[in-house]
């Protein structure tokens, strides 16, 4: 019978706090009158802020909790902070939007908090069972959130689709876990690693198990060919949910991928690298070519998000190479951060233009933005350049870091494919710019201080953080995975 102590709880205090706060908020919300639901948003933000403080206080800690089921290290602390910040931004994005679209209900923020706690657990999970549980904790609230605009059909469809395919992906992961357990006799990442080092009786089961886990997580991060759900779900979900999902679910998925594969599966990296390389190539090519054909900004950003998953996965290919392992994690973390900043900014712009009943989402609705709302257009320009990877933006720094890792790992062909698909992406990102600046039109916008703030902060951050990237690079590289 393993012994737990209070220390274990203290180590995961930020997550425990978020879960407790969410439960309390669920009750508090019952007693709030319908017109005062903004108080729930405010309280949720407060909770995230407090958890963020706890998280920052943990910097430097490296420890196991709950007999090695969870691990707190630089990696998890970095991701937790990123997730909490993403949550704060998502609340800012949702605040007016829910009111404007007439779907303001307190559960929204509570569900978000639950999903965030899942993401945080995911970044700390050192046991496959915990990985699965946190994946469900992360996903189930997201399914509900995707359908939050019911009875709007698109939103219901999005929720249903996301749920079905998510459950499917969960099945893959669970089956993979079972096979890995069968092959190694354990679900703990370090024990799996040790068992694999000592030689396995049935290495094929191990390999298949790892591959199934890869497929399941591939669904979560929307890698091709497991991406089918993404455009429809992104398009149908309420926009702030899409924004949250695009960043948060990605963080969760990559947290699990990085930790599981780097810690537990380095011994089969030679077998898996070609598979992952193939997924990367498909993701980059399909994501970027399909985006070219899009006429709806939400679908365009969905495909763009798929292609960025491809870029992050690209750095992941050399995960078994001991010399570049830590750079793999650092490059992925840095890119996730750069993607989060840029992505939230662009979604804020989308929301600024979005009108009721799905209007204002076509690319044509951006015509004339450059002339009529120069500041907003400038911000969108910055985001598009950052997505493309043109300096001086954070997106460029991220790609620079990624490509270095890929080259260090010796995958020159992948790097070339990466830059060529970047070029492809320039075409559709620049089309947004062309429409904004070079076509005439009279776009309608919603002037909301919170949205403007998110847009402005993200745009300034995207540029300024490029010039002062040193601390960010340092955080990302110091956010090392605890290896054994």
């Amino acid at each position: 019978m393993p012994q737990y102590s209070l220390d274990d709880l203290l180590l995961i205090l930020p997550t425990v706090f978020i879960i407790g706060w969410a439960c309390a908020l669920l009750l508090v919300d019952l007693f709030l009158p319908a017109k005062r639901k903004n108080l729930t948003a405010f309280l949720a933000a407060l909770g995230l802020l407090a958890a963020l403080v706890f998280t920052v206080k943990q910097v430097g800690i490296e420890a196991d909790a709950f007999v090695g089921m969870l691990v707190i290290d630089g990696f998890s602390i970095f991701l937790n902070a990123l997730v909490l910040l993403s949550g704060l931004v998502s609340i800012a994005l949702a605040y007016n939007y829910l009111k404007r679209m007439g779907i303001e209900r307190g559960e929204y923020y509570v569900l978000m908090l639950f999903s965030i706690s899942g993401m945080m657990l995911m970044s700390m999970a050192a046991d496959l069972i915990v990985v699965f549980l946190s994946l469900e904790l992360l996903s189930i609230p997201l399914y509900i959130l995707a359908a939050f605009a019911h009875p709007k059909e698109a939103s219901e469809e999005a929720g249903m689709k996301y749920f079905l395919l998510g459950a499917f992906a969960g099945g893959f992961i669970l089956y993979g876990i079972a096979l890995v357990y069968g092959a190694t006799g354990s679900t703990g990442l370090t024990q799996i690693y040790a068992a694999a080092q000592n030689g396995l009786e049935n290495p094929l089961f191990f390999l298949i198990g790892a591959a199934l886990i890869l497929i399941g997580l591939g669904f979560k991060v929307a890698a091709v060919p497991f991406h089918m759900w993404t455009p429809d779900v992104y398009e149908g979900s309420p926009t702030p949910v899409t924004a949250f999902m695009a960043v948060g679910a990605k963080i969760g998925g990559f947290a699990a991928l990085l930790r599981i594969f780097i810690v537990a599966f380095p011994s089969i990296s030679d077998d898996l690298a070609p598979v992952i390389g193939g997924i990367v190539a498909l993701t980059l090519v399909v994501g970027n070519t399909a985006a070219i054909a899009q006429r709806d900004i939400k679908r365009l950003l969905a495909y763009s998000s798929i292609s960025h998953a491809g870029f992050i996965l690209m750095a992941f290919v050399p995960f078994g190479d001991e010399n570049v392992q830590q750079n793999v994690a650092a490059a992925a973390l840095f890119y996730l951060m750069a993607f989060a900043v840029t992505s939230f900014g662009s979604w804020a712009v989308v929301q600024t233009l979005e009108q009721a009943e799905g209007k204002g989402l076509a690319l044509e609705d951006y015509a004339g933005l450059g002339k009529k709302y120069p500041a907003l257009a400038l911000a969108m320009l910055v985001f598009m350049l950052s997505f493309t990877g043109v300096p001086p933006t954070l997106g460029f720094a991220g790609k620079f870091f990624l490509f270095r890792t890929v080259l260090e790992g010796g995958y020159i062909g992948l790097a070339v494919l990466g830059v060529l698909t970047s070029l492809l992406s320039a075409y559709y990102y620049l089309r947004v710019v062309i429409i904004m600046y070079m076509q005439t039109g009279s776009p309608k916008v919603n002037r909301e201080p919170l949205l403007n703030a998110v847009t402005a902060v993200s745009a300034v951050g995207t540029v300024v953080l490029f010039f002062t990237a040193t601390p960010l690079f340092r955080w990302a590289t110091e956010a090392v995975l605890k290896l054994y």
């Binding site: 001086p392 270095r404 075409y427 089309r431 070079m438 690079f473 590289t477």
Partner: protein, 504 residues
Amino acid sequence: MEFILEPLNLVTFFPLVGVFFLLLLKKEQAGIARWISLAASLVTFGISLWVLGQFNAGNPHLQMLIKKEWIQVAGWNLNYAMGIDGLSILLVLLTAFLTPIAILSTWTAVEERVRDFHIFFLLLEIGMMGVFLAQDLFLFYVFWEFTLVPMYFLIGIWGGGQRMYAAIKFFLYTMAGSILMLLAILWLGINQQTFFLPELVYKGGIPAGVQYWLFLAFAAAFAIKVPMWPLHSWLPDAHVQAPTAGSVILAGVLLKMGTYGFVRFNLPLFPKAAIELAPTMALLAVIGIIYGAAVSYSQKDVKKLVAYSSVSHLGFVVLGIFALNSQGIQGGILQMINHGISTGALFLIVGFIYERRHTREMDEFGGLWKIMPVYAVLTLIVSLSSMGLPGLNGFVGEFTILLGAWGAGSGPLGTPLYAGLAAIGVILAAVYMLFMFQKMFLGPVTNKKNEDLKDLNWREILILVPLLALIFWIGLYPAPFFNLISPAVDNLVHILDAAAVALH
């Protein structure tokens, strides 16, 4: 503060002051916007002269070097490094010189969104300066890619009817080349542990086989920018659609970034590959010279004619560079300046007539000499300079290049044939330029619409006078220019000679 006042930082970033004041303006204040932009670019030109004053022509190495740590974590070794030497000083001066001239040319040509136009223009100047001064590969790449953005907008917003197509073509073409260079830069950074150019050159030791690939990756970026045949197809579109000032800067400075890149990076970093690939590069250059000239001859739109003539002229520059000897490279660098002046002037001249008649079809004109004598004389001088008449600047550059290419016949190029073929290009240049001049200016006035055209006004003459002065100065007394270039070029040739010895 000291850091900001470094001469090279000042000359690069001073236009930001102009941008700042422009941002304070209201959209309607077009007049003030023009003056602010002109003032900012003139001060920048002044600073560049100050830099010239401090420049020691006898020193072959980098001067006024600034090196500050930028990102130094996680195995990164990125510096903010700027420096100037004989390879770049003239290009810096050219940039600072052409920008106010181009701005002055927009006075009546750009009426829409004037403030934004000048913001982009000044940002472009910053990018170009940075490209010529950066001494760290990462920093260089940042400036290099950044220049795409303002130019993209200058073409896309203020360009002609097909501007969107031209703008995106320009962006994608150039980006296609530079992303391959990015991978090569990363390879260097990983394997040589530094991005600082002098250190990379000093370290050397890149295996010949790898040099080949790296050379090609860098060359992809530069050859598209120059543009070398057969990668030139973006250029006519960009030029024809760009507003006059954009064309002036595009031809005058932006294309030089490509040829400068060859000199600054390809030759010293990959000398062995440069020696082995020199015949190929020279061949492409010669094809470009003749192809550009032939296509120019068949144009009906005078702006397109000038655009294709750039392909031909820059072929000369590339030929000179890949002669890999002192004469060739010096001639190449001087010819970059000459082309910037002459072709810049030609685009201005085309712009003047376009503003009056809103057409550039040569068939629409004829006998303009009788109506606009001042304009005709100035055009004649610039045309003669462009075709390389002795006594004017073009001759000096082309002649030195041909001498270099001829001399390289016994060296890396293997045969003097390249020089011989390039000489045909000089003749062809005379053919298409004179053909153009004859058609537009000589003979009777054939089109009634031209009868009331006004001759150049004081502002337009003022724009051309400094360019003409340089055309004569370089043509008659080029020694001071060569003196600035030669020590650094000789230094570069030493590196190449050492590599040649190692090869054989």
